[in-house]
């Protein structure tokens, strides 16, 4: 799959309370959750984000609670893909399970600037920085995870 959009940069340890504050967890409606995405990290995020844009973050993205509302709100905000140096484990499996594309790339986030134009090719494991005319490698998913993604999420994958 290919994802093309502008980068929205964040730092290390972006946690689920920043991605979707608990005051909005009384709903599971993706549209409502999308309106408050990243609110405690950058209150202008929702205003600035355009469809297919890409979140680029440092280490341990999505740490904290198990709330699936976090990847749901990111997906609903229009973000096509999240690139990070590493992901917290529950966020990682939630994203895989609900079909939010995530990419681990150790060195790329340090080289990407806010609003750079990016193209992510998950099959090839390559991020193309169109603005800076650079290319970065990403990690590829283990075969077990790749199967869940190809089936379109966990519940499709467990259907016999």
């Amino acid at each position: 799959m290919k994802y093309k959009g502008k980068a929205h940069k964040f730092g290390n340890d972006v946690n689920t309370d920043e991605i979707i504050p608990a005051q909005y967890l009384h709903t599971k409606d993706p549209v409502e959750l999308g309106k408050h995405c990243m609110e405690n990290a950058d209150k202008n995020f929702v205003k600035n984000v355009k469809k297919d844009d890409i979140i680029v973050a440092g280490r341990n993205f999505g740490c904290g609670s198990s709330r699936e509302h976090a990847p749901i709100s990111i997906k609903a905000s229009g973000i096509s893909c999240v690139i990070a140096e590493s992901f917290a484990r529950i966020f990682y499996r939630n994203a895989i399970n609900i079909g939010l594309p995530i990419v681990t790339a150790r060195s790329a986030p340090g080289k990407i600037k806010n609003m750079d134009n990016l193209e992510v090719n998950t099959a090839k494991g390559v991020i193309r920085n169109i603005s800076k005319k650079e290319e970065y490698k990403t990690e590829v998913f283990p075969a077990f995870i790749e199967k869940i993604i190809k089936k379109g999420g966990l519940l499709n994958a467990i259907k016999r």
Partner: protein
């Protein structure tokens, strides 16, 4: 080659394929749980998948503990989804307000999670039960929906980090201080994807309530699970819980790590050098000894949560607050984690102590820990709390602050109105 306790429990729950760290397995789940925030999504996904029947109605717990007693209409609707689903599928472990407690205090208390079990919960602090010598870990709502359907969950077998605690604890130092110190040392992703195994003579002497606090916060270092080998204290706790509450599943198995088990890392701590700890905003790893933060004034004190809402937490808080008044202008909110703890705190006079000191004593709820209700912070306010997270906006306004500490430090701070070492106000 030997195996760690985590590897042994995971191996015992899958069909023999995955045996080493890094391997992916589908494992049988002994018990699973969801709450009023995470279960509604799981229930919706269960229905969307066309599932008609849960895998085993005796191995599921639905616990409306986060925003209950319902804080608003939407929260009431979410809690109702659990009630209706429990009724439809005749799920035995559904806990209505009045019997409900904070899930990670309630399930061990009821003997529903046992040594050697594999437990998943759609709540990150599910790792708490590792204190019983079981593998337990937090997952998401879709994982829970899959477990409802199949009774299985996928895992990558984690590498383990061994934390050896030796020496004698100083007065006023608890399990909470040990885990805060550990997270401060390794960082909030210091154990990402890994198992944290706590051992050593100091752990062997640690009461069960303190062990729960330690395993509870393994997630704050990014860990998959926290775990402590079961011993005589574990058996005593588990047998008492089984005797009192007569759960259907009474059998348990005690696993121990092999001497030649392989660890990604071994850390040693001399606990006699550890002071009461405080984690400053806005990360649980931002820890300092309490004496280095003691001029910080506070507006609110919260004693409770799945980390520190157990009876010994209330006992030490009451001991410090007995016949004292909290500082004018400070709010003290004490929340016992379960109804049984609540009742015992009433019987033993702790509730009276808190109220006479000028505090409130609340019904069990996760409440303010995640900025839900019962003590949300205003802009610019600061709280010291026995909870587990101090992220931006965790307890309310994005410009409020949370300092994490033990019940003893929190209670002492309520008296002085600033962060205080318990020795300043009590013997």
């Amino acid at each position: 080659m030997g195996y760690t306790i985590t590897e042994k429990i995971l191996r015992a729950h899958c069909k023999g394929k995955g045996v080493k760290p890094g391997d992916f397995i589908r494992a049988r789940v002994d018990f699973c749980l969801g709450n009023d925030i995470t279960a509604p999504i799981a229930i919706e996904e269960f229905r969307k998948a066309g599932a008609k029947k849960v895998f085993d109605r005796t191995r599921i717990a639905l616990i409306p503990d986060h925003f209950t007693p319902a804080k608003d209409m939407q929260s009431a609707n979410q809690a109702k989804m659990l009630r209706d689903f429990a009724e439809e599928h005749r799920i035995e472990q559904y806990y209505e307000v009045g019997r409900m407690g904070v899930e990670h205090a309630l399930l061990p208390e009821l003997g529903l999670v046992l040594p050697g079990n594999l437990v998943i919960g759609a709540d990150s602090h599910t790792c708490t039960y590792g204190a019983l010598g079981c593998f337990s870990c937090g997952v998401g709502s879709t994982d829970l929906a899959a477990a409802f359907i199949k009774g299985e969950c996928w895992f990558r077998i984690p590498e383990s980090i061994k934390f050896i605690f030796y020496g004698k604890l100083k007065k006023w130092v608890s399990g909470k201080d040990l885990i805060l110190h550990t997270i401060g040392d390794i960082g909030v992703d210091g154990a990402n994807y890994k198992a944290m195994e706590f051992c050593g003579e100091a752990i062997k002497k640690l009461p069960m309530d303190d062990r729960f606090s330690m395993c509870n916060m393994a997630i704050e270092a990014g860990a998959k699970n926290g775990i402590i080998e079961p011993d005589a204290s574990t058996v005593k706790y588990v047998k008492a819980a089984i005797r009192k509450n007569k759960p259907k599943r009474k059998g348990f198995k005690m696993y121990k790590s092999d001497k030649d088990a392989k660890y990604a890392l071994v850390k040693e701590y001399d606990v006699s050098k550890i002071e009461p700890q405080v984690a400053l905003p806005h990360l649980p790893s931002n820890t300092k000894p309490v004496n280095k933060v003691k001029n910080v004034s506070i507006d609110q004190v919260v004693i409770g949560s799945c980390t520190n809402g157990r009876i010994s937490d209330l006992e030490i808080s009451a001991k410090i607050l007995k016949n004292k008044r909290i500082k004018q202008g400070v709010r003290l909110i004490v929340i016992p984690a379960t109804q049984a703890i609540y009742l015992e705190a009433v019987k033993r006079g702790f509730a009276k102590t808190f109220v006479e000191a000028g505090g409130v004593f609340s019904t069990p709820s996760c409440g303010p820990c995640l900025g839900g209700h019962l003590g949300v912070l205003a802009e610019g306010e600061r709280s010291i709390a026995t909870t587990n997270r101090n992220f931006v906006g965790r307890m309310g306004h994005p410009k409020s602050e949370v300092y994490l500490a033990s019940p003893a430090v929190a209670a002492a701070s309520a008296i002085r109105g600033r962060i205080t070492h318990p020795k300043e106000v009590a013997k």
